[in-house]
Amino acid sequence: MENQTAEVLVLGGGPGGYTAAFRAADLGQRVVLVDREEALGGVCLNVGCIPSKALLHAAKVIAETKEMSEHGIAFGAPAIDLDQLRAWKQGVVGRLTGGLAGLAKQRKVTTIRGYGRFTSPRQLRVELAEGGTTTVGFEQAIIAAGSEALTLPFMPASDPRVIDSTGALELTEIPRRLLVIGGGIIGLEMATVYHELGANITVVELLDQLIPGTDKDLISPLTKRITRQYENIYVKTKVTGVQAGPEGLTVSFDGPKAPATDTFDRILVAVGRSPNGKLIGAEQAGVAVDDRGFIGVSKQMRTNVEHIFAIGDVVGQPMLAHKAMHEGKVAAEVIAGKNSFFDARAIPSVAYTDPEVAWAGVTENEARAAGVTYGKGVFPWAASGRSLTLGRSEGLTKVLFDEESGRVIGCGITGPNAGELIAEAVLAIEMGADAADIALSIHPHPTLSETVGLAAEAFEGTITDLYLPRR
């Protein structure tokens, strides 16, 4: 391949990278996009958000058919064809990544497949996937190099029974007993899938609750449900060693309720992700990378080097596709001369577990820690007609308000479809809505979205669907 030049180089073709590349192209820039994978879309499309959601949908169907057997509709045990399920999942991924390739072509974005490393502040060297190397000279660059799953040092090397989220999504087999190390979003989503496909799940988490940091009242319905479903959930527990044997992987634990050792067929390691800042020759470009591999940026996504920008997982938490996409647009727009800033007031997070857990803005934990005087309105889904017709009653919707201004500062929702419901709260926070604005907006009945309006009514004291003693 001939050496290339670009007005804008984008390193990394994940959601942040392709969004930045497409936006820059739409603003008249000549763009080269470098990604090492065969298909654009990064972790999210290929081995993250999208394939996991396909499998979670399958898991949900199984769970719902089981539940309906108690209400007069019995299906019997599902016949699971892993190959067919995997092919369907891969089909969804292929359709989306194929769409991206088409979008890149329509915008005349040049895509180069290979591993890119900076060699100077104005040049990137790419080890091409097809063999050989090429260089890309650029006027400005956007680093969207993403992150990788963290590994644990004491894991047996190259044992196929130890997998990360990518391995879990490959769905090579359903183990009889699966240990999930890490009780965060990724570990619990994979646990949801494997549980419904028939595995016995044990989850081990170092800290004192699942999805650490999230408000306890939001997590508790999830914890309650999966405690019933799973074999074991060990919190405040450390994995101290793993012994690979022919019968299985023998794991040593150190925690209040865990046994000293136990043996599993497979281990899923989901202990977090590490940014790829140290893997791209950033020092050759003069871009500062911290010890953990993060690249510091301004609110215009500019690094310490004037003409080099960085976005997405590589610039910091939360490592979420939707954050990266918005940052990508900001970087592209700034490069094109627009005065854009990343000034989001709320970035929603969603765990697509069953029930789903979603939150945005300030959490109650954060508000307490920061000494913010806040008020809250809570609506338990046990009083929601729609939730009960879904056969579920454990959810809740909680909206936090600034006591002084009355404006919404945060929201947390647990229950089926919480991830869809949280968007209303994000809009409310961005628009500076207060409790009355939400409570007086008519929500359709009977829906789950109604619970957001009812939580605001609970705060206002105008709710009639619950009886709350006067505050």
């Binding site: 500062a288 500019r302 080097v305 700034v334 490069i335 001369g337 000034d343 404006r407």
Partner: protein, 445 residues
């Protein structure tokens, strides 16, 4: 690879959406620092945008006729011979959010001011050989934390370079709306007036007529200056309740003195006109009657008194009326003012006035002295509160108590904003002004 600097419209004052009337360079041209790149026409003046550094012109981002505002990209400039690694990002590029350790944080206005000062520094063109300057990070303060405005409004404010933290919202519960941002950019002088017109639903249009039914006609466009000044005059006329006070001054002695000075000045290449004396007399009268040197606040419940004396002088040019401003008239003598008037008038007629030449007047003088007439009603240049019109002086028989004597009399017409100035005060101001003109010795006191 040379550094491609984007040259954008610098902050040249309070204007937006002005047309590019000339482009002096083409892609590939080599320019030196300060060479004119494009010419913009705004508010009755033309402005050249100079090259910030020597280099080669790259892609042009505008064409003649495009409307531009501060920050609009004009062209790319490959700054000559640079391949230097840019220095690390400093706080100047993006001012940090104020925090507890920031001494400015306690005072949001000061903090905003210091942010815009930092921003202004960041917007300075880079010296030749420096890194490319996109000037984008300079446009507005970051975050707008705590400001009650949705994301769309925040983006609009950044595009327009407006600091939302100093704006108050008119939306529900004080939310800043898009309209507030647009009004904020137009400035306090313009928006209330527009709002009044909008609030009463405008004024009835004069019905269109087909004049060709009555005879042959031809349509010729107004000059650009007329098109610009028309709405301004209309706005003043609609907003200011006008009254005009007429008086006359005996300038027989003053004129004799002026002729002496003028004869001397001619050898130095300028003329001493009556206008310079009118300016000095006006400043003395403004000092005596400070209400004439004030403006109404936008809420119209207070007066803003000015303790400077900048006078607007209406100048007739081939393209229409322009009003350049002579600054600090109180600190200048007759000869200095005469020389400055000559220079400014020449620049006005050549269309070479800078925007700064046209801003900041406290009071305006409109002289038709070269033509004739007996009196007229000048329109107050709001937010100023008064304007002095003079017509041609005339030798008149004046009764001195025992006989008619020939005296040179100057008719003056003082229009004023009756919301601020009442009739008696205006009569006193006019009389005081004439009194000064009648005895030239008082002027120099």
């Amino acid at each position: 690879m040379a550094a491609a600097t984007e040259v954008s419209v610098p902050d040249l004052g309070d204007f937006a959406e002005v047309p590019v009337i000339e482009i002096h360079v083409a892609a590939g041209d080599v320019v030196s620092a300060e060479d004119p790149l494009v010419t913009l026409e705004s508010d009755k003046a033309t402005m050249d945008i100079p090259a910030p550094a020597a280099g080669t012109v790259g892609e042009l981002r505008v064409k003649v006729g495009d409307l531009v505002s501060r920050g609009s990209p004009l062209l790319l400039l490959e700054v000559g011979g640079t391949d230097v690694e840019p220095p690390p990002l400093t706080d100047q590029q993006e001012p940090p959010a104020p925090d507890a350790a920031d001494p400015d944080a306690a005072d949001p206005v000061a903090a905003a001011a210091s942010r815009s000062a930092a921003a202004a520094q960041a917007a300075m063109p880079a010296p030749a050989g420096g890194p490319p300057v996109t000037a984008v990070e300079a446009g507005a303060p970051d975050g707008f934390e705590g400001v009650h405005a949705g994301p769309g409004v925040r983006r609009l404010a950044r595009e327009l370079g407006l600091d939302l933290s100093v704006l108050s919202g008119t939306g529900p519960k004080g939310r800043i709306t898009k309209e507030d941002v647009i009004a904020g950019v137009r400035g306090p002088a313009a928006s209330p007036a527009d709002a009044v017109v909008a609030a009463v639903g405008g004024i009835p249009e004069v019905p269109a007529q087909d004049f060709s039914k009555f005879g042959p006609v031809e349509v010729r466009p107004l000059s650009r200056i007329q098109r610009l000044s028309g709405p301004v005059l209309h706005r003043s006329w609609l907003n200011v309740p006008h009254v005009t006070q007429n008086d006359e001054a005996d300038i027989t002695d003053l004129d004799a003195y002026r002729r002496e000075l003028d004869a001397a000045a001619k050898t130095d290449g300028y003329r001493v006109t009556l206008l310079a004396f009118l300016m000095k007399a006006s400043v003395s009268a403004l000092r005596e009657f400070p209400k004439f040197n004030s403006s109404l606040t936008p809420t119209k419940d207070a007066l803003i008194y000015k303790s400077y004396y900048h006078l607007g002088i209406a100048v007739d040019t081939p393209e229409g009326l322009v009003v350049p401003v002579i600054r600090d008239v109180d600190r200048k003598g007759i000869t200095e003012l005469s020389a400055e008037l000559g220079a400014v008038s020449a620049r006005a007629r050549d269309g070479k006035l800078d925007l700064a030449d046209l801003q900041g007047a406290c009071f305006t003088i409109s002289s038709l002295g070269g033509i004739g007439g007996t009196s007229f009603t000048p329109i107050v240049n709001a937010p100023e509160v008064a304007i002095l019109g003079v017509v041609r002086s005339k030798m008149t028989p004046v009764w001195d108590g025992s006989a008619f004597v020939p005296r040179l009399m100057l008719p003056v017409s003082l229009s004023y904003d009756h919301r601020v100035i009442d009739g008696a005060l205006a009569a006193r101001f006019a009389r005081y002004l004439c009194h000064l003109l009648e005895d030239v010795r008082r002027l120099v006191l």
